[in-house]
Symmetry: C2
Subunit: 252 residues, 2 copies
């Protein structure tokens, strides 16, 4: 019996992947399995379950209305990942999609949209963000789905950070700080947060408020102006490389 790897968005279901568990999939997923992949009862497939694990399962029941899979073995266990909160002023449509995808690839654990003075987006579509999270996780074989929070104002987002969490503030006016140096003093494995402002930057008042946050450290992303989504990837890269799981010891 051929094994199909059907780790596509449609089959990423929010369910537990423990061996023996039966998973009921709905109409759309049934159509994909039965008519696109042409699986029949008895077929074994590998699948991913939301934020849990990847495993093999057997198709045990099939009708037009749905299919039932029975998990038999777990191929890859649930993953940990960095404790990394990503606070960001939401961007417009396509750039927000990209930003969310990239945050997932970079191992972010929480996505927190933050409303700032210069934020240009009225309504943040968190449903769309969640769909993008799943798509990116599927695409890159990531088994831990970051949580997507509802937007909050900057002050509330700062107040909600735990005292031990270090907040990386990409400060355009902190050129002398350097990019890696301020992170070098943070102990590996420390809970982190990265804050990225809107395209128009933070207001002076916001800047003062952020700098006054007890866990805040300023990092400079160099002399060139970057778009917010580029700055986000750069800042998350630096955090992963210095404090997170891109360090050589973390990879073993």
């Amino acid at each position: 019996m051929p094994v199909h790897d059907f780790t596509s968005q449609r089959l990423f279901v929010p369910d537990d992947l423990a061996a023996g568990r039966e998973l009921s999939l709905g109409k759309e997923q049934a159509n994909y399995l039965l008519n696109v992949l042409r699986l029949a009862v008895g077929a074994r497939s590998s699948c991913s379950m939301a934020a849990m694990a990847r495993g093999f399962s057997e198709l045990v029941q099939a009708s037009r209305k749905g299919v039932v899979l029975r998990v038999d073995t777990q191929e890859r266990p649930q993953e940990d990942g960095p404790d990394l909160v990503y606070l960001f002023a939401p961007l417009k449509r396509a750039r927000l999609d990209f930003m969310v995808q990239k945050a997932v690839e970079l191992g972010v654990s929480h996505l927190q949209p933050v409303i700032t003075t210069h934020t240009q987006v009225d309504r943040v579509k968190t449903d769309r963000m969640r769909a993008n999270v799943i798509e990116a996780a599927e695409q890159c074989g990531i088994l831990r789905l970051p949580q997507v929070a509802e937007p909050v104002k900057l002050s509330a987002a700062l107040a909600a950070l735990e005292p031990q969490r270090v907040l990386v503030f990409c400060d355009e006016r902190a050129a002398q700080a350097g990019a890696i140096e301020p992170l070098g003093a943070v102990a590996p494995g420390t809970p982190m947060a990265v804050l990225i402002g809107p395209e128009g930057g933070f207001s002076d008042r916001e800047r003062t408020e952020i700098a006054a946050h007890p866990g805040a450290i300023s990092v400079s992303l160099g002399p060139r102006i970057m778009r917010a989504d580029t700055a986000a990837v750069a800042a998350l890269t630096l955090v992963n490389a210095t404090v997170g799981d891109w360090r050589p010891s973390a990879a073993t």
Copy 2:
């Protein structure tokens, strides 16, 4: 007389910005200046010239067919920037656009498309890439335009690198190398190149060929699979932060 900052794509002209110089702009740019910005003869404006400088100029002649600007002062001189070659397997349309934009924001000096075994793109539109370079430079106020080269095969691209240039190879199999550590041994200011493969990765043969390149160093971008455009931003970030102009000393 109000000063308009018209640093938009249309007005990025491939000409010298020396004081006293007269610049002839064509129909489309004339329309923008005269009808959109509503400038008249005598108006002073700031403008950017391709890869050169930013300055103030006076509108000295205007007709439907074109306008003439006379440069009077130079506001910002020509910029240097990192000596950073970006070698990459071209991606499909939208992702290539993003990749080019981001490379410009990250200070790349040369964009070199590289054809590899798993490259999925048949024709590389270097004209489109050049347009994206200009747009990104305008957007971010970058005054040095990276050069866009015609695509070459991987072997030829490697052979063309000067002996002193360090080649950063983002090697998915080099987890123990770490991200920052291999770059820590490179002297600041060394000419650099970053090589990013196609979505399907390099073939084993290509991998061996790259590792055998005298200037090659392997860098790991962590345990998660990333899309090629994300990996590109991450790798260029690490180079800028360790060897390039994001270092604190480089910013003073």
